[in-house]
Symmetry: C2
Subunit: 397 residues, 2 copies
Amino acid sequence: MGGTVKRMSLRPENAQQAGLLLLLRDGPRSRAELGDLGELSRSRLTLELGRLVELGLVESAGFAASRGGRRSGMVRLAEGLRFAGVDVGATSIDVAVTNGELEIIGHANEPCDVRRGPAYVLDRTLDLLGKLRDEGHYHRLQGAGIGVPGPVSFRDGRPVAPPIMPGWDRYPVRETIGQQLGCPAVVDNDVNIMALGELHAGLAKQVGDFLLVKIGTGVGCGIVVDGKVYRGVSGSAGDIGHIRVDDHGPVCACGNTGCLEAYFGGAALAREAQAVASRSPYLAERLAAAGSLTARDVAIAADKGDAAAARLIRDGGRRVGVVLAGLVSFFNPGLVIIAGGVARLGHVLLAEIRSVVYRRSLPLATGNLPIVLSELGETAGVIGAASLASDHVFSAS
Amino acid sequence: MGGTVKRMSLRPENAQQAGLLLLLRDGPRSRAELGDLGELSRSRLTLELGRLVELGLVESAGFAASRGGRRSGMVRLAEGLRFAGVDVGATSIDVAVTNGELEIIGHANEPCDVRRGPAYVLDRTLDLLGKLRDEGHYHRLQGAGIGVPGPVSFRDGRPVAPPIMPGWDRYPVRETIGQQLGCPAVVDNDVNIMALGELHAGLAKQVGDFLLVKIGTGVGCGIVVDGKVYRGVSGSAGDIGHIRVDDHGPVCACGNTGCLEAYFGGAALAREAQAVASRSPYLAERLAAAGSLTARDVAIAADKGDAAAARLIRDGGRRVGVVLAGLVSFFNPGLVIIAGGVARLGHVLLAEIRSVVYRRSLPLATGNLPIVLSELGETAGVIGAASLASDHVFSAS
């Protein structure tokens, strides 16, 4: 039991083995239960589990409580399995190492401007992972998943024309990380990996079709259909920051007018906070002290009862709500999760979004629709990235 | 060869047989080709095809041209297979009978107001199908698919709170049709069956992820993900007629203001045509003669060079374009098809929709995105409904 994993390249040999690994990702199970859930005969189950044990992917874990007859043996994913999850944000890098069950073993992060380019940012990423290795959190990785803040060609493992990532266009992120770590790597958009994190460890655990709206510096949406991320034909699905809110709105960085991101998100909120600071004692004081304002200042001001700050949050929530109402009518999801740094504006924001969506979407689409704040915080991205890596490694080759 | 089908209830016995039937739905194939495409050994293929012939679902069709060695035998779906496709619209019923390859054998339609209720409308539907039977187009049906103009619980085979279908809420459409025709029946939304029609016989044949926008009396959207209709958690996905175009727009039948349908669609266009008739000689003449105007009058006026009518079409196209631009950014489809009665407004409408979507959606999402008018016309719905029935019958029980 326990110990290290023996082989370099571990992949299940067929669809049955892949199915067993995915079942075990949720935790240890009895052989009886695995046979039922995997719809395998006892002899077939014994055969496939035996191969997974030989491959070093699965190990026995004592005996289950008796169901009447002979006690069923328990099995689990090998304790030594390790996956890396990396979440490259606009202004930070988060890395984590998980076990096979996607529980975080070690976690590290540091501020980092993605505009410093792929060579620098990936170097910092590998350094952070090296630190986790030196601390004994892993000896060898079975796979790595990386999320980046822009559109990604999932098939090629490269960013594609990412607007806030100069120098990253078509950079071979998957090859670079995979070669440096010596394991298979997978690259995706940061919002998609957050959605996967919610699916595996968050509020979306039992939900097949849901939306995750990330409000950070910009605004993006992860789309999950039948338990899988939907990426669209060029990998840009969920890019909702430039959906029009108003023809006569402010000019956006994209060149159009009235885009959602021109109104709301960390960048827009900081700008608007400066514009209203003269009417808010708290914001005026922060502006004088720091020289500029951030979305976090607006959140603190609103918490202290500042009316101008609360108004900014409500206005932003209303605009997110208007866009989301349309998407809810279109997509009819089972759950909407609001996440990202600006989501920490909290319940004032949530209340405004809910109010618009419940009023503007069709009753049939909102009848049983929860709209909630993420409870995972920063770990959603890294857990999702690790799950993406394990999805890849645990699929039959 | 040919002739009638012997058994009442025909279903493939396993996934391999189901896969072979779906391959044969595209037309006759050689045994060699089926073995390759179905990834079956020669002995397994012989076994499964033999069972399908015994079941009366498949028959031999001579020999293929030689590929060098022995000539491979051709097989095809039994010529006697028959599916019914029914498209119940707001103001008409279309029915068709197809063969197993979804080619239309017989077609009939009549005007019918869906508000007359399910008993009357389904009775008329069965009468039309009976007429096709009396004309010799079928003796017995293997399955029937029905589309209705409102939200449907696909699992239950019943409409759910359909706004323009009084009396239909929760009516057991599937049971009624299935019992009367003596075959399995499947019920879906009318826009979804049009999307399936495009997938099987129209412009979406090679496209996995696409949107079909139907502009008829109202406006709806069919969503296809990976070759399957996406229906959402309560079956209302694609219900885009009440997405907001403008906060200060006209009041919609749903109680909100500025919905897409309040601006555009057959109903809105007829109303607006009356409002501008004083500025259009053609529309004024039609109004005086007929007492009211329709979307078709607007189309004819625009064709004759009437500026007021062309303006109405362009304004409507712009609003559809604004909503569609957001959905294209969100969904990143491989194709958008514009269909439905109002789509016959033709290229003026299409040009306006394209112009807004290409300007407002993200370049990454529109780079390779064709936006086209449907070429199937009224047959999209009935072919899609028949394909839905055959999907059901050709899946392993």
